[in-house]
């Protein structure tokens, strides 16, 4: 168990709440979809907003670069905010 509640603990887009906005910090290169996510516009510095969660809270949809894109939580977990 990690008790260190420091600020540099990583948060990902998968943990965002509906209506929450965040600036993308980085994309985890290890994730198989990381390249595709960046290509469709999830790049560091970009602001995203979590708009909706589907039933079972997955997939989730983000406002990004003038459109809305739905991704699975698994993919969202590679977006570090």
């Amino acid at each position: 168990m990690n008790y260190n509640n420091s600020e540099d603990q990583m948060k990902t887009a998968a943990e965002m709440k509906i209506g929450e906005k965040a600036i993308i910090e980085d994309i985890d290169n290890e994730h198989p979809s990381s390249h595709r996510l960046m290509e469709i516009g999830f790049t560091p510095g970009q602001e995203i907003e979590l708009l909706n969660k589907s039933i079972f809270n997955d997939p989730i949809s983000f406002s990004i670069r003038g459109t809305i894109i739905a991704i699975r939580k698994n993919e969202a977990s590679s977006i570090i905010i």
Partner: protein
């Protein structure tokens, strides 16, 4: 790969763009409805090709290649789309590439544009969705964008087609330039595959976006400019990164459509509407097709006589064509509704809502519509699976669709349930039917998850499962696009799957008709109709199919059935509903009484194994037969369409073998299990 426009070659213009960028709409506007849809060799990826409509007087071919996000493919299908953009197998390298760009999300769409320009293509940029951009209080300077990208930029309004003429003038000028200039331009894929380059590219794109997008005064007609709106736009302009927001109306509507309760209600009502349309609206149309073909078939056999040639034409050819066309109403209705739902933006939301449970068994939210359609008919359902972009998920969906209890199984179930349950107990019959449906759904879920585990080996495809789907802005669907898409799908079905269905049903006809094509029966004291029926019975009882029936009898025995049921099962491959009529023939139900079903039922009750008085149809064997029909792939048309949509025989053959084996095993367990508990 070189660009070389010579005088004698018709120039090729490829249209590409990201999904939802208005690519196909533009293609339809340029081509009219006269386009050819072809598969790339050895794959299921399709392209459409056409000449530009003569009214535009531009002599060029246009190619609608599949939408791509980037030149770096992330799946085998995308790889084909990208590679063929550079070197088309039958049309070579395009002379001009037209990219449709959604101006309301410019930065995302410029990414592909820059890759194409950097690769050396002559690129024409078509800006679409300008109405959405205006709704945000923004506009775009096409002139500036053109200067920065050093490529022509044209605005086209997809609703009115305004701007298409400017586009064509631009294209015409480019073609003339290419034809007169001596220089040979070469195309080399330029798409650096590393993160650093990708991010640098996006930073440059954001700079371009800031240069070309500007706020506008929306209330032009009013005297006073809307200061608030301008200020709002300016504030967002100063933000870092890109500043565009999604369509506001879409965000608001999504709160309902993707709501955990209301969203689900809307989704199920929509799906219910779609399903009932395919199921019930198509039924009268299918009856018309069936009736007109049996009318033709009757007439043909009357004119040609009841001989082998007359029967070949009437029962082989005419009925064969009828069995191809009978699926057309369902295909047309399903694809029209699907097209409208897709174009309105709803289908993507539906896929998102239902993705989670389906992802557990290796499927995708987009698998839902094809699977649901499978309860009406597997043929349109398997065709609808082409909306699934991920290859593995598409193959898996196609694989399990035949397990959905299609409408053709209903008459079979109805007959067999009627045999089990006395007519007074209609409620029990309904309950059994419901249980059959639940049983078939549960088994298909289990089978899907098993096949998913071995997807690499079984389906020959093991893409990573992922779900990245744009939820496009809601808009009024374009009926013309949906209709053109509907006809294109119907045409492909008739010309690609149709011949296979026809050949296979002819083969089946031969098996059930020869060698004893003119049997001798005792005609004394019989009416003419009765003699024909007796001949038909005798013919099938001595046909090649019956030989196969005898051959497989040892396999049928453990199920408590004899060769005659085997023959019926073989004949049923033409279509499941044929089971009832072939049972009648093989059990010599020649008494054409008022109520065929009760005549057949009593014939079944009295049927015994040859040279014994052991009954064939008992409670146990009938239940076993029902279970057999739940799993067995008793439909040649399904095999044909699965072959076409998966691009080979691997999956259909696998389906036949595995579903027949499962059907047999479960029927065996049912029959002998019931017998074990004393139910005979």
């Amino acid at each position: 790969m070189t660009l070389q426009v010579t005088q004698n070659k018709i120039p090729l213009i490829a249209i590409t763009g990201q999904p939802n960028s208005g690519k196909t709409t533009l293609f339809n506007q340029l081509s009219g409805k006269k386009f050819k849809t072809v598969n790339y060799p050895g794959s299921t990826v399709e392209y459409s090709i056409s000449k530009i409509l003569s009214k535009y007087s531009v002599n060029a071919n246009i190619l609608d290649s599949p939408g791509i996000i980037s030149l770096i493919p992330s799946s085998p299908d995308e790889e084909i789309s990208v590679n063929t953009l550079f070197e088309h197998p039958s049309h070579g390298t395009p002379d001009i590439i037209t990219v449709t760009v959604d101006a309301s999300q410019l930065s995302r769409h410029l990414y592909l544009v820059r890759q194409l320009i950097n690769s050396g293509f002559k690129v024409v940029i078509v800006l679409t969705m300008l109405d959405l951009l205006h709704k945000k209080g923004l506009d775009i300077s096409d002139k500036k964008l053109s200067e920065i990208l050093k490529s022509p930029v044209v605005r086209v309004d997809s609703n009115s087609g305004k701007g298409v003429d400017v586009f064509l003038t631009t294209v015409n000028k480019l073609i003339t330039d290419l034809q007169t200039s001596k220089e040979i331009n070469s195309v080399i894929k330029y798409a650096p595959d590393n993160k650093e380059n990708l991010l640098k590219s996006y930073i440059e794109i954001e700079e371009i976006e800031k240069d070309v997008i500007f706020p506008v005064n929306k209330s032009e007609s009013n005297d006073k400019p809307d200061l608030n709106k301008i200020n709002e736009s300016l504030i967002v302009l100063n933000n870092r990164g890109t500043f565009q927001k999604p369509d506001e109306f879409t965000i608001k509507l999504d709160r309902i459509v993707l709501h955990k309760f209301w969203g689900l209600i809307i989704f199920f009502l929509t799906m219910l509407f779609m399903f009932t349309s395919v199921f019930y609206l198509a039924a009268p149309l299918m009856d018309i097709v069936n009736d007109s073909f049996s009318f033709l078939s009757d007439n043909a056999s009357q004119i040609l006589g009841n001989n082998w040639f007359g029967n070949l034409i009437s029962q082989g050819v005419i009925s064969g064509v009828g069995s191809v066309l009978v699926f057309l109403p369902q295909i047309l209705i399903l694809f029209l509704i699907l097209g409208l739902l897709e174009d309105s933006g709803f289908l993507a939301r539906g896929a998102m809502l239902i993705d989670k449970p389906l992802s557990k068994i290796g499927l995708n939210g987009k698998s839902f519509v094809p699977m649901l359609s499978g309860f009406a008919c597997a043929i349109p359902a398997i065709m609808a699976a082409r909306t699934i972009t991920n290859r593995k998920e598409r193959m898996l969906t196609i694989f399990i669709i035949p397990l959905m209890s299609c409408s053709a199984r209903l008459p079979v179930y109805a007959l067999l349930i009627a045999f089990l349950i006395p007519q007074e107990e209609a409620f029990t019959g309904g309950l059994i039917l419901t249980l059959i449906y639940i049983f078939s759904i549960m088994s298909s879920v289990i089978i899907a998850s098993i096949v998913n585990k071995f997807s690499g080996k079984l389906l020959g495809s093991k893409d990573d499962s992922s779900f990245i789907l744009e939820l496009p802005a809601y808009r009024k669907p374009k009926v013309s696009v949906a209709i053109s898409n509907m006809f294109s799908n119907a045409k492909q079905y008739i010309f690609k799957a149709g011949p296979i269905i026809l050949y296979l049903s002819m083969l089946l006809w031969i098996l059930t008709y020869f060698p004893n094509y003119d049997p001798v029966v005792n005609e004394s004291g019989k009416g003419e109709d009765e003699i024909v029926l007796m001949k038909n019975s005798e013919r099938i009882a001595t046909s090649y199919a019956s030989e196969i029936g005898y051959f497989i009898e040892p396999v049928m025995k453990p199920l408590g059935m004899d060769w005659r049921v085997g023959v019926s099962l073989i004949a049923t491959f033409a279509a499941r509903e044929v089971f009832v009529s072939s049972l009648m023939l093989i059990f010599k139900v020649t008494d054409t009484g008022e109520d065929i079903q009760s005549t057949l039922l009593s014939a079944m009750r009295n049927a015994t194994f040859e040279n014994s008085d052991i009954k064939i149809f008992t409670t146990a064997t009938t239940a076993g037969l029902i279970v057999f029909f739940v799993f067995a792939l008793q439909c040649l048309s399904t095999v044909a369409i699965a072959k076409k949509e998966t691009g080979g025989w691997r999956i259909p053959v696998l389906q036949i073998i595995s579903f027949t084996a499962i059907a047999y095993i479960f029927a065996f367990i049912t029959v002998n299990g019931l017998r074990f508990f004393g139910i005979n």
